[in-house]
Symmetry: none
Subunit: 400 residues, 2 copies
């Protein structure tokens, strides 16, 4: 849907919406049992909720396309991810409360380990401590390059953000991370003529970092990826006329929410902390994006049982969310992370929408297989927000 | 689908199609029973028909978008309602057999009641009688304004149509109806530079109407909305190569059918009259749009039992329609009007297509819940007409 149309229909109301994103929610049957993580877990609350909800399957980008966390969440927020590409560097920067200026180019950095011949032996430098990362970032901050100011911010463990600030910079620079071991980092190359100067500045930065880090094994080199400028994106609170808050412990999701203009609430690291935060701010917002990370982590680790346990932990906390009596509650995810794949997958993600006006279908279990025959059908993720808005009676009628 | 493509595939045939639109057909479960109007009603004929039909759910504008009657029916007629917006004034004018000329600007008028300080106390002037409306319209016809001829036509009760006729008029004029009580009517403003003169003419009209009606309480003022020029829309009979007739008692739906070029048949006010009209003209047309209003009226009133009864009355008359042995019969609606919402809703609308070639599915009850798992799936309303054309063997093959 055209965001301008949605904006013209959006109207103020007193209803409240919670959009619960279980990261990497969707799964696949385990060969031994023929049952997916959702089908294996004991989920009494979710299944009961599905019974009184409209259910379906969300597809975030397109058929067979595996979404990253950025496109996955942009879809949930009502944006067509293909229309609004966001680089990893931008997300990473937003996620540490770094306020990008217009024209800044950001990249995600990793400290990594290279051997005597410069070949990568560990892309994450053994996941060095965040303390060490902070100290190494201090060292990188001494670097100067031609044509751009260098800003460095530590993130967590081996991760940092590089921001190039200056006039006429471009995000069209190739990644230096080959995403492979036994090979040296790639040179930064301009992917468009306008990016020549930016690529040269990046190359200078990388070369000086190599010299500065030479003695600091295991973190003796850097890898850069996801060069991008902050996109010009219609703001979520203005598009949907909602006071919107994000409750997310992880930087990436906080950054994404901030990118679309949500207020990102301070919260502790656990889902219990997140729910406490949700409760504390309940009266001050109309819309809450509530993020649950554990499902994705287990799926990425290929740990089927851990993902089942993560789903069960979510189910156990769901009554606290329901107790707030939101007018509209949606439960879905930003992409699948099937444990048997041990990575993000392209498989559509189960979704449920519960409200007084959601209608009903025959679905009584919140699983991939059951949601496939739900009333919402298989639908693009960006259609979820309009459906939530409608269920919250926040859209005017279209046409006489 | 591109209408030009459909037109290039359409071919003559002797088959006959009936498209039955139950206005506001879709509903929602009543909290006490968990069953919708369709699930509560006794509908032996419809359910039997569904059993031998392909079923699905129609969506008229987009996810979460509540269609007005205009966009709802344009969708049923095969048009993308977002591509072909139609103002309320135009529909209202067409609905009273008023033949708009190119360039005319039409608006929907209400007689209303204002207090001594000009604030609206009743937007419908207590729904005055149609007789009084006719007399008051006579009075308004004496008004002259600069730069436009004024044409006034009474509609029903408190409603009338205002048409401005002249060169260079524009429909980009803001509504004077604030859709609220306790405030005065809004001034008519130009929404585009080209509409300045039209807005001035409307303002003159409103001011003179105020003076003329001063003594005629409760109908002592007018409200205007839905200013629009007749849209340039590809004609239905030419697009689908069908001799198309509309059987509809209500002005709005007659107007919409005329807008797309259907022949609007004279008919009496009841559905029994409509069916008699259908029978009388059966040999003269290939396509009949048959409109049933009662379902929407009951839904808008929030009267669940009345909507159930309206569905049962339709079911009882359906054998008369089947007796004509149409080659293709579709039953659906222009939008949902769930009784628990007491208004149009965004919920997809059940649809069935019966023909010798429709195929079959597992659906044996014509309900929202059952149609959700039908063979037609959840689909845009404008895709219904191509499906009906195909089932009537009226489309040539695409490509060699």
């Amino acid at each position: 849907m055209d965001l301008g149309l949605l904006r013209s229909l959006a109207q103020p109301a007193t209803t409240k919406i919670i959009l619960c994103s279980l990261d990497g929610l969707g799964g696949l049957p385990r060969p031994g049992t023929g049952k997916s993580e959702l089908e294996t877990a004991a989920l009494p609350i979710l299944h009961a909720l599905a019974s009184r909800s409209a259910c379906g399957l969300l597809r975030h980008v397109g058929p067979g396309i595996t979404p990253g966390s950025g496109p996955g969440h942009l879809g949930l927020f009502g944006y067509d991810p293909l229309q609004h590409p966001v680089g990893r560097g931008v997300l990473e920067a937003l996620g540490i409360d770094f306020h990008l200026k217009p024209g800044d180019v950001a990249a995600r950095g990793n400290f990594c380990t290279v051997d005597g011949e410069g070949r990568i032996t560990d892309r994450r430098a053994g996941r060095i401590s965040t303390d060490l990362c902070v100290k190494l970032c201090e060292r990188l901050r001494t670097i100067t390059v031609d044509g751009a100011e260098i800003v460095i911010e530590p993130v967590k463990e081996h991760r940092f953000v590089l921001v190039l600030r200056g006039d006429g910079l471009s995000g069209s620079v190739s990644e230096t991370d080959p995403q492979a071991l036994g090979v040296p980092p790639l040179p930064a190359r301009a992917l468009a003529p306008a990016a020549e100067r930016t690529a040269a500045a990046v190359s200078q930065f990388v070369e000086r970092a190599r010299q500065l880090l030479r003695d600091s094994t295991p973190a003796n080199m850097v890898l850069l990826r996801g060069f991008d400028r902050q996109p010009d994106i219609p703001l979520f609170p203005e598009t949907f006329r909602l006071r919107a808050a994000a409750v997310a412990a992880y930087p990436m999701y906080r950054g994404l929410a901030r990118l679309v203009g949500m207020e990102v609430l301070d919260t502790g690291p656990t889902f219990t902390d997140e729910i406490a935060t949700l409760k504390r701010h309940w009266d001050s917002f109309d819309f809450f994006f509530l993020h649950y990370k554990d499902t994705d982590k287990a799926g990425e680790d290929g740990d089927f049982d851990a993902k089942v346990a993560a789903l069960e932990r979510f189910d156990a906390r769901l009554p606290d969310v329901l107790a707030l009596r939101p007018d509209v509650l949606a439960v879905s995810g930003d992409h699948s992370t099937p444990s048997i794949l041990a990575a993000h997958g392209w498989q559509p993600v189960p979704a449920l929408v519960a409200s007084a006006y959601c209608g009903a279908d025959h679905v009584s279990r919140f699983t991939e297989r059951d949601c496939a025959s739900g009333a919402l059908g298989l639908f693009p993720a960006q259609e979820l927000m309009p459906i939530l808005m409608a269920n919250a009676l926040r859209f005017a009628k279209y046409g006489a």
